[in-house]
Subunit: 258 residues, 2 copies
Amino acid sequence: MSVILTTPAKKRSTRTAPEIRARSFDRVTDRPSQIENLLSQKEQDRLREIATVLEYRRGGLTIFSEGEDAHFVYAIDEGVIRISRHAENGQRQILAFMVPGDLFGLPDGGMHVNTAETVSAVRLYRFPWQQLVRMMMEEPQLQLNLLVRVAYDLRQAQRQIMILGQQSTDQRLAFLLLDFLRHPEFYDERDGRLRLPINRFDLADYLGIARETAVRAIAKLERDGLLRRIDSETIQILDVAGLRAMQLGRRRRSASTD
Amino acid sequence: MSVILTTPAKKRSTRTAPEIRARSFDRVTDRPSQIENLLSQKEQDRLREIATVLEYRRGGLTIFSEGEDAHFVYAIDEGVIRISRHAENGQRQILAFMVPGDLFGLPDGGMHVNTAETVSAVRLYRFPWQQLVRMMMEEPQLQLNLLVRVAYDLRQAQRQIMILGQQSTDQRLAFLLLDFLRHPEFYDERDGRLRLPINRFDLADYLGIARETAVRAIAKLERDGLLRRIDSETIQILDVAGLRAMQLGRRRRSASTD
DNA sequence: CGCCGACTTGACACCAATCAAGATAAGTGG
DNA sequence: CCACTTATCTTGATTGGTGTCAAGTCGGCG
């Protein structure tokens, strides 16, 4: 069975072709998503029964928005998405970028509190939340798996709190770059080239700085010989150790001086 | 059965008497901790079987430190604790203050990644992690309860990311004050007096600012007529609405201007 | 009474947000 | 293929905010 989903046209979209395709979950990929790794064959089969595959053809598409009723949770099979939230004054903060294997969309009081949008073309697995809850009550191992994932997200969030609470602009940028260096999807270790899948807007909103400040931070690291800009979305990393060292410096003294 | 635990003497401690007492979990409080609310009587009984009550007599005591092996999780029955983490350069960031009903100490790879310390006198329930896991595998409802709690912590962490990424010093302070206003334990709505259970060190390390900056922010809110300092740990709130309004202003324009 | 830690205030330099303007690149329509 | 539009990226100038160093005050405790 094949289903075509429609989404409200994005402001920057000029296409009219369907951006998303959905179909039932069977043999769509040879790389199993991480959620399957810890589960028995039987459990995987049951998950497949309730899952739908969604395909988003490009970046900038909304998967769900904060405030909407939440009926599904999602797992990424391919591509990058961003999780963001808007303050009451309208400012956007990007809470996380998520990559294949990550899970997102857990409801909070039946609603989505965050917004999820594609950064690149994306393939997702979509699970009906109610059915998933029923399954989890019967399969404790499945529930434990979900618990581990949420706990991981919590650790990641705390990590970002550390960055935003303590690091200078340059350090924040180094932190983001080092994170992306771990993904061979974006970083070619041989020639040292990193293709940043995110634009300066997203980068700034993630690091909690202004867009111009982000650009200047990149320019500074370039002056310092740590990297070289190829084009706006590609940079060549010249000194990984230097980036790491930069994170160790201190922006401000700790309030609690021992 | 009564057990006496010992902890390494704290630097500011001059006492020699035992700071912590532990005893088995039975009828120690007439106010049930929140973890019990959603559980059946049978499940509560089972929880009691594996729980121990710990009492810390004062603030500044370490419950566990980052890097230690994690064998227990904890629930707060009474008092306030702080969860912190130290960056590689030694800077401390306070990730959260936790109050009665909150749960903390979930292991990550068998270890504690954060440090937990008492802010005031505290009574805790301590649960052996392994036994709790076994119970959860048999009682899905218990596990779901834990999942809900971790998800809640994640939302709180994301909330702090919003604050640290977007808000000015004054706004951050207003945010913290408004949070404490919700707890009748600290805020007397009649005379408007707020007893801050945390010192300026903790306050600054929580908000990601320098200690002096925190003091100056308080002074500024006082000049603006929003509050009045009684003594270093007590302030009188004069304009709650003004504090709320302060949070809505924007420190900087969003990077993603629509 | 004197010490000590926590709190507070002042001075100053520097970093980053903001406003402004230009550069680059990709798309669009002629 | 070229002019035009638009979005994104980049750089400059300016100002306010915040970290840091320094000094002083306050309160508790021995």
